[in-house]
């Protein structure tokens, strides 16, 4: 197993310190030079202006997770750093850069025997005649030097960052950048030099941005949503994208209305979606059932956060799974998909619209606070290679249009405006033509019809999963969503382990898993929720047996690799 070529950095500050901007510039520059990277953000309880941390990992290969062990930690105030103690570990070689005024090094840095570099930020800037506000760009200069990156790449990034500001602002920031670049020389040569495998520049985006971009590419032309952390950026992004694509967007008064509008627009023939988080998904429950019985395509992205109720709005968790699969009174088919990282959001959204539009049912995409809001350098996605969603529209035909004909697997939809296709639908159980029925036999027949689609979809979704690790490894980890990364990372350094990652959770690719599990010794399911929701689901559908283990905990920070190692050990597997 070869050493991974990554560099882990954390930046800690308070409102006004601008650590997020620095981290962003770093990631953008990495992308420009052909490197990969990932950035996550973390905030204290303060609404604005409180402590904040940015965790950045730069790598030669695609970065799948941010390590807790840091190569460098920069903090403007130690007190702020202590608040993020659980997110970052100062190891032996960790370099700690801190404001020179901060003298009492806290216990969390005790192990850091790397280097300890106090920097008198204000003094240096003042002496150069620069404003304190340029502190973060000065820091950016320091980091560009530490990484051995080209000066012009850094400069281009600064120029881009401030492109909307006056030229005076741009030039003083460029000066601050240069100052940082040269300041660092007195202490050290480059901390780490990466040779990118190619010089190709790649896009940087968050999971929420990727979801929005992919949805529009997949044909979504209507969005209605209600803001909620950590999904709001999808609404904001769609508000930019849709008008340009000839689509429409409404910020609804609540989530019930949001999904109602989506149903209305989709009923009108337009591929439509919303995004929300747990509390919103709970409120959408009744509308999901309406979509199910009236066979109206729709897509809901749920950026999961720690629940129940308001829970911990900015922290990740994977605890909406049960609700996504089982929520809602009565029986109706629905599809649940889960991306594992930012790039996955593309394919996932295409698949989501494919399932919704082609099979006329509700689709829930389970993202989470981590994927939703972290930024990644990603390989560009060739969306042309994806199957385009296509709704079976009814155009014309003999008299007697039956919206819910029991003879067809997929009944063509006549949307309003279609001559000759006039009919009335309802959330009430109905006959083939859509008329209300309270006949048990018709109800059973319609349930069969609705679930036949779901079974057919299950046959179509072949290969909607990934696996890693040796085919003969005795131990298998099953993981989904953003927690898949740590399982994969673990398996990379433990050849006894293989990993199965479903990208479609419901209907579950049971055959593929059973094939994968042949001749294995142990099976464990990793997920971030208290009850082991996915584990119990897999047992309920007979995909795993009673010997399988459940590795789980409540949400908060992403799983780290030592944590998984410990779970595996405690589970008696290692």
């Amino acid at each position: 197993m070869k050493e991974k070529q990554v560099w882990n950095l954390s930046l800690v500050g308070s409102g006004g310190d601008g650590v997020m901007t620095t981290a962003n510039m770093l990631l953008k520059t990495a992308a420009r030079t052909g490197l990969y990277g990932m950035m996550t953000q973390s905030y204290g309880p303060q609404i604005r202006g409180g402590e904040a941390a940015a965790h950045v990992t730069i790598g030669v290969d695609p970065v799948t997770m941010v390590d807790r062990k840091k190569d460098w930690i920069v903090c403007f105030r130690f007190a702020d750093a202590v608040r993020f103690e659980k997110e970052m570990e100062a190891a032996k070689n960790t370099v700690v850069i801190h404001a020179a005024e901060e003298t009492e090094i806290p216990a969390m840095f005790a192990k850091a025997k790397g280097k300890n570099i106090p920097i008198p930020f204000l003094k240096v800037l003042q002496e150069a005649g620069l404003s304190e506000l340029a502190k973060n760009v000065f820091l950016f200069g320091i980091l560009v030097r530490a990484l051995g990156w080209k000066e012009e790449d850094g400069k281009a990034c600064v120029a881009e960052m401030f492109s909307r500001k006056s030229s005076a602002v741009v030039s003083s920031n460029i000066r601050a950048f240069e100052l940082g670049l040269h300041y660092m020389e007195q202490f050290t040569g480059p901390a780490k030099i990466f040779k990118p495998k190619s010089g190709v520049s790649r896009p940087v985006m968050t999971g929420n941005e990727a979801c929005a971009l992919a949805s529009v590419a997949a044909g979504c032309r209507f969005y209605a949503g209600y803001p909620i952390t950590p999904s709001s950026e999808i609404l904001e992004e769609m508000n930019e994208l849709l008008p340009k694509a000839g689509g429409k967007l409404i910020q609804a008064e609540d989530e019930i209305s949001a999904l109602g509008m989506v149903i209305g627009a989709s009923y009108g023939g337009v591929p439509s979606m919303t995004a929300t988080s747990g509390p919103g998904l709970s409120l959408m429950t009744e509308m999901l059932g309406l979509s199910g019985i009236a066979e109206i395509p729709l897509v809901v992205v749920d950026c999961q956060r720690a629940g129940p109720s308001t829970g911990m709005p900015s922290r990740m968790e994977q605890s909406d799974f049960w609700h996504a699969v089982f929520g809602g009174h009565g029986d109706f088919p629905r599809v649940v998909l889960a991306p594992t990282d930012v790039r996955d959001c593309y394919q996932t959204m295409f698949r989501a619209f494919y399932c919704a539009e082609n099979f006329q049912l509700p689709v829930i995409v389970l993202s989470d606070a981590n994927i939703a809001q972290r930024a990644e350098v990603i390989d560009p996605v060739d969306t042309d290679s994806f199957e385009k969603p296509k709704r079976l529209n009814w155009t014309d035909g003999p008299q007697g249009y039956r919206r819910f004909g029991l003879d067809a697997l997929i009944s063509p939809m006549a949307f309003p405006g279609t001559a000759g296709g006039i009919h009335c639908i309802a959330g009430i159980e109905h006959s083939e033509k859509g008329m209300p029925s309270s006949d048990g036999a018709m109800h059973e027949a319609m349930n069969q019809k609705r679930f036949r689609k779901w079974e057919a979809l299950s046959e179509t979704a072949v290969g909607w999963h990934r696996h890693y690790g040796p085919p003969k490894a005795p131990h298998v980890l099953i993981a989904w969503g953003s927690s898949a990364a740590v399982a994969r990372e673990f398996a990379e350094s433990h050849p006894d382990f293989a990993v199965f990652v479903p990208l479609i959770l419901h209907p579950f690719p049971k055959k593929a898993l059973q094939h994968f599990l042949k001749n294995r010794k142990t099976v464990s399911v990793l997920e971030m929720n208290y009850q082991g929701q996915f584990y119990h689901y897999l047992k309920g559908i007979g995909a795993i047996d009673g010997n399988a283990q459940s590795f789980k905990r409540s949400g908060g920070q992403p799983f780290h690799i030592e944590e998984l190692g410990q779970m595996i050990q405690e589970g008696g597997i290692l």
């Binding site: 008064e253 509008m261 309003p416 309802a426 209300p436």
Partner: protein
């Protein structure tokens, strides 16, 4: 518009309504078909979106696209449809419970968005479908008389509620007067913006004759001198005359853009 006038019956399908004999909703259904005929609409260009309730069954009896959605949500669904498909004539409809109880929160927002659609509420001041509980418009007298829950609750004033939310077209009519209903509906559909019709209606099964007689005694047409473009006058009527029938308010259309919108007045 009316190059060839179609017959109202061409907007009715063959399905017999489930309503009780004598229910006000029969008249409403007729006036819907008459208004569609009068407006010369194409059947397939109409979408009628309702919630749940006796009255919400109406779309099922029209030869037009229809969607009998879930309780209280006709407006979000209609708004989504109209926004995505501005080419359609969208009419939302339902009962007083559907509109003003569970659906009350959607009303001000549908109005704020001002989509070019019509909302027709059949107000029988009772929950018909669920067998006679008090609705937000049930009078305190009737609640006391029938021993219903909510006797201390003041009834809601639907017309005032939509006025205060900023509706540009507000009318009242009654289910016993087909001619007037048709007129109001025609005018409302023609209005390029959100239009609201409050239709006083009778539930013969759970409100009965006394209610109907009382209603018939009290209703009256708006005075001919009522200036419907005068907001002050409209507020006076809205606040003080719950039995006045006619167009209570019609905000002048300042500019008709491509979406045929009424210029919102802030």
């Amino acid at each position: 518009m009316n190059s060839i006038e179609k017959s109202p019956m061409s907007f009715r399908n063959e399905i017999p309504p489930v309503w009780c004999t004598g229910c006000g909703d029969y008249g409403v259904l007729k006036s819907f078909t008459r208004a569609f005929a009068k407006l010369g609409l194409k059947n397939e260009s109409i979408a009628i979106i309702s919630g749940i309730g006796c009255s919400s069954r109406l779309p099922g009896y029209c030869a037009a696209y229809g969607f009998n959605t879930v309780h209280g949500r006709s407006l979000p669904i209609a708004t989504g449809l109209k926004t995505a498909r501005p080419d359609l004539t969208v009419v939302a409809c339902g009962g007083d419970g559907d509109a003003f109880a569970i659906g009350a929160g959607h009303i001000p927002h549908a109005i704020r968005r001002n989509p070019d659609m019509t909302y027709f509420v059949m107000d029988n001041s009772i929950y018909g479908l669920t067998k006679g509980q008090a609705s937000p418009t049930t009078s305190r007298e009737i609640k006391m008389l029938k021993g219903l829950a909510g006797q201390e609750e003041m009834p809601l004033n639907p017309v005032l509620y939509v006025m205060a939310s900023g509706a540009g077209f507000v009318a009242r009519t009654q289910a016993g007067d087909m001619k007037h209903m048709t007129e109001m509906l025609t005018e409302a559909i023609r209005y390029p913006g959100f239009s609201f019709i409050h239709c006083l209606s009778v539930c013969v099964t759970y409100q009965g004759r006394v209610f109907q007689e009382d209603l018939e005694k009290r209703i009256h047409f708006l005075a001919p001198e009522h200036n419907k473009e005068n907001e002050d006058a409209a507020y006076q009527i809205a606040r003080n005359d719950p039995w006045a029938l006619g167009v209570i308010y019609r905000r002048p259309v300042v500019a008709e853009g491509n979406g045929q919108r009424v210029e919102p007045v802030e």
